[in-house]
């Protein structure tokens, strides 16, 4: 416990600050001023910044992330989220700082800086994402799990009863956003935009459409979520995997925005956020948390809790066939 706190709150943050600051400090005299800090899609530098300003930016961002990581260690709940977010920011800026320094090394002017392409930028993001996953996974062991309250919702499902609950959540505003993005894509295509621009617009429009509405269903076996008007893709969480369910009020910004946020596998926490307001919070048996925004969450939570406390399914009800 203690050593985990020191690793996540001190050692790792110091490492990312040291990487960013060290890269600048070790090469300061070999860097041009101003420094190339922005590259176009083709990989050639197209933006610059005074050397000192670039240093302050990267050092400042990594130090802020380190402070956030330190703060996370003093929390009781939400440690993994904050530590993960801090690690993402810290490692991302450290990696971008190192990439910037290496690209500018020994260049006489910023225009002569080495090319930085999309693959390298993606690699930085992947590195940061991986670090965030590792950190939040380790930090989860520090979470003080809230004691299951005695007043969990219930619908009083009898032993001979069977039930299915279906509900959903919609966000019209997101639909408008998807429409705008789609129009943008069509415009880009019509005006001869690159396939990257058109493709990005198309992909974004499809992704946003997928979270304009969700359909949630709970039966004896699982909670199922179907995304978008096409009800595809789908995901499910087996009732056997659930410890208990509660109704909660979801604030989109506290969960990282709208959409499928987080990852059960990597972060131990995921949220399906379509809109703000009513939602279900599932405490899973492996100490993971799943949040779903959905109407009538009290009933859904009640059914889940009743099914969890039962957990032994009975045979089919009617075996006789109607004509």
């Amino acid at each position: 416990m203690k050593s985990t706190r020191i690793w996540l709150g001190v050692v790792v943050p110091v490492a990312w600050v040291a990487a960013a600051v060290g890269a600048f400090a070790a090469t300061w005299t070999r860097l041009p001023d101003p420094l190339a800090t922005h590259w176009g899609l083709s990989g050639t530098p197209n933006g610059s910044m005074p050397k000192l300003a670039a240093f302050v930016l990267f050092a400042g961002a990594t130090v802020l992330a380190a402070i956030a990581a330190r703060v996370a260690m003093h929390r009781e709940r939400g440690i993994a989220q904050l530590a993960g977010a801090a690690a993402f920011g810290g490692v991302l800026f450290a990696a971008l700082g190192v990439v910037t320094v290496v690209a500018n090394l020994d260049a006489p002017r910023w225009q002569d800086a080495r090319a930085v392409g999309i693959p390298l930028a993606l690699a930085c993001c992947a590195l940061a994402w991986g670090a965030a996953a590792l950190v939040s996974r380790a930090a989860r062991t520090l979470e003080r799990t809230p004691a299951a309250t005695s007043a969990l919702p219930s619908i009083g499902l009898g032993p001979t009863e069977r039930a299915v609950w279906s509900a959903g959540a919609k966000n019209r505003a997101l639909f408008v956003v998807a429409l705008f993005v789609a129009v943008g894509g069509v415009t880009a295509w019509a005006s001869g935009g690159s396939w990257i621009e058109v493709g990005t617009c198309a992909a974004c429009a499809v992704l946003v459409t997928g979270i304009t509405e969700i359909h949630v269903r709970v039966d004896e076996r699982a909670l199922r979520i179907a995304f978008g008007p096409l009800r595809f893709p789908r995901m499910s969480i087996a009732v056997d995997r659930i410890e208990h369910a509660e109704k909660m009020t979801v604030a989109p910004m506290a969960n990282g925005g709208w959409g499928y946020r987080g990852s059960l596998t990597a972060f131990g926490r995921a949220a399906v956020v379509v809109r703000g307001g009513e939602g279900l919070r599932l405490a899973l048996r492996d100490h993971k948390t799943m949040i779903v925004t959905v109407d009538d969450a009290e009933t859904g939570a009640g059914l889940i809790n009743d099914l969890v406390s039962r957990r032994t399914p009975v045979g089919p009800l009617d075996t006789t066939k109607h004509e």
Partner: protein, 115 residues
């Protein structure tokens, strides 16, 4: 919308399902235009025969509460919300009348006189 059925109850399963959907419509849990779960899906979730669910949906359609269209599934009818309440009350009235040995003819005569 919560649909719960009880194998130990005296009422037929298809009637239980129809009653649950009717309740959901009259209480506003589902609105006109909303889709009911596909019969196959609902049947699997409740572990009942698909025909049991179809029978319940057909009854709701005959009562004018839902519309069944090919390719669009089963949707709540426009007048569903207000109508569901009336159908519920009518069923209750009919049950009460039967319990007191009143014939259908007597009941409809009573209603005609009231109107």
């Amino acid at each position: 919308m919560l649909i719960r059925i009880d194998a130990a109850a005296n009422t037929d399963l298809h009637e239980q399902i129809a009653a649950q959907v009717r309740r959901a419509i009259s209480s506003g849990k589902v609105a006109p235009g909303d889709q009911l779960p596909p019969a196959r899906e609902l049947a699997a979730s409740l572990a009942v025969n698909m025909h049991t669910v179809l029978r319940a949906y057909a009854a709701l359609r005959d009562e004018g509460l839902v519309e069944m269209r090919r390719g669009r599934g089963v949707t709540i009818a426009d007048a569903g919300t207000s109508r569901a309440r009336v159908v519920e009350l009518a069923r209750e009235l009919l049950g009460e009348a039967r319990r007191h040995g009143m014939t259908l003819r007597e009941l409809s005569k009573l209603l005609e006189e009231l109107a």
